[in-house]
Assembly symmetry: none
Homo-oligomer: 204 residues x 4
DNA sequence: TATGAATGAGCCTTCATTCAT
DNA sequence: CATGAATGAAGGCTCATTCAT
């Protein structure tokens, strides 16, 4: 390289991390090697290992960074809201999360699947599901959401959103998918339907 | 060298496929090479390539085999049923599908994620979602399920089931998860709650 | 295959040999495996080894077959000719040999180069050069050709013809090449120019 | 692991290239794998690919290196010669070129034949024939050589020299071969013999 | 005898990781 | 600290050759 760019360690680490995010997002996990990332970060290959002990560590770091950023963003959004408009919020957050997922592109496969993801699962407090669980807790406490089992429902609704993004990415109509996703969430969190079991019984 | 075991091509292919399923299930995609599979199948490495042109082809074959088997199984179950007890069926199939997923173990990551899955997506007619769509179509036609958008809802409910299996695999309580999964499906497919939108409306 | 075709061993061997010639000619040594040849010969792979101990043996057999055929052809041509028109004959044979070489296509590289050729050189009595040597011997005896060293000249003139075919194959103008080849041969075998050494001396 | 030897890329590349030349020369293309070369170069196998994208690229590099070296050498020899003694020069260059070829040993087959040679032919400006063509051009311009067709004659005379080396390598007497080769070249480039066509006519 | 399934050594190529400078 | 050359374990794939049926 032309000239050494001396940076504070944290800045350099951040540059590498950002480069990794860009490269992973664009090219996906395949065709993305350590060298691709350091090249994108305009630093030397060996430098990578100054900041990340192994390749998997990078992946974990990327994942955690994204999740933390998302969580922080979420917190920001509701930090100053005195009274949440729950159902509006739900739709808004659904859209937002799906948009976020779509934006991840190839990154998603890289950090949420593959060996790194399997061997080093997201810590609970970081997971998207736990964010959702937070929302559910408050919403239920506010008496707006039905009293579902929070942890499991959060996980499963998260899967719905996640799957919605995949569906859109794979070519399904965005609005259709969004509509169905919203429907599932609304139905799941809405109040119990009074006569739910009867109509079917009759139908049979 | 052990004695040669000469088999009809179909049988040998099947043996290799079965070996692959076992190995993949137990060890996951990492730590599973062509040689591991042929060793498990008690045949020579080179023989692998008589039956599968590339490693990815094997993965696709495994995936298709599993999906086809599941679909066939499903068809079998309802082939002779004159009158479906829809809500019972729903619960039963939910349990069954989740059990199936859990049983896949490391196989799931191997064949539904990773390069092979990305570059060679499941053909539509084979996908689990399309099976679900079939069920939805009939259920809606029978007037039991709400008139949801079939394709997208099928995909998203599939994600719920899939996520449920993951959740259980990752240590969450099986019954808890199952209950929430059932709840989401029931709510999604159940009749519109007459007053559903009111409480929120008032809340706003 | 549909039905076993039982052939006399010699016929079968010949079929395989012919198939090899066709395949080698068309595809060259790369991309030509034992199986390609047996497929072309419409027989089973294992049958190959009934007639040729190794792959290299096939190559040698092909080479010898071609050379023998050429030699026989040559003999035929002059068997009944009472009086050879030497210089016409020279030109005719030059053309013929080059045409033969060109016709070999990929075969040439396969059988006259490569490991087989290196480790198992053509036996002297079979070589094209030895045919040429025969011609030279007679021509010199007839007092038509200059008294060159027969063995070495034959080899080198053979290289000229061989090179001429290569040149044409690689895109040079056929007539141009033929003319130069003829010129070299004529000059080499023609009578000593009386004043040969003087002009250059003067020129310097 | 032996101690790491860190070299400037150009130096290392050169070491690998030289090692390749040695190994290829001694053992020929068969029985020479990437690992043999890196072993000879006292470096790790993987390092090979820092300098040569593929095996064939190495072969091409070796070939070009040899041809360039020879050409440079040739140029050097005549850079400072004011007046060329053409016929002496011819004999000298014949000897030299044949010696060069002989020295190549197994290298010749490796780089001038085989898949690499077929798929990536020598660029024209590098070929030995083009060097010869240069010589012919000047010699003809000087009025010393007969006005032959330069390109084709160069190619064919090159084949003579090349064949001469092969002949010597295969056991023919060196001096005999050289004498005949010289004769062919002299005759080809010498002045037209006055009565060339008559003697034969009479002889018949 | 004919068939084609089975064998396994061989080989190129990739790339995370290390470390001399 | 930064650099990028060096390392070497993997691992996919080929194909001549063997041999059970």
């Amino acid at each position: 390289m032309t000239a050494r760019r001396r940076l504070a360690p944290d800045d350099r680490r951040r540059e590498v991390l950002d480069a990794a995010i860009r490269v992973l997002r664009d090219r996906g996990p395949g065709g993305c090697r350590v060298e691709d990332i350091t090249a994108e970060a305009r630093t030397a290959k060996g430098n990578f290992y100054r900041y990340f002990a192994t390749w998997d560590d990078l992946l974990v770091a990327v994942r955690d960074h994204l999740l933390d950023a998302y969580r922080e963003d979420l917190a920001q959004r509701y930090a100053s809201v005195p009274q949440i408009e729950w159902w509006e919020t739900v739709d808004e957050e659904i859209d937002r999360f799906i948009a976020f997922q779509l934006d991840l592109g190839g990154l998603h496969e890289a950090v949420f699947h593959g060996p790194a993801a399997v061997e080093r699962p997201v810590e609970k407090h970081r997971s998207a599901a736990s964010m959702l669980a937070g929302l559910l807790t408050t919403g239920i406490a506010d008496g707006v959401f039905a009293a579902v089992d929070i942890d499991t429902t959060a996980v499963l609704l998260f899967d719905v959103l996640h799957g919605a993004a995949d569906a859109i990415a794979s070519g399904m109509d965005r609005e259709e998918v969004l509509r169905s996703a919203r429907r599932i969430v609304h139905r799941t969190l809405g109040p119990d339907p009074p006569q739910r079991q009867q109509a079917p019984d009759i139908a049979l």
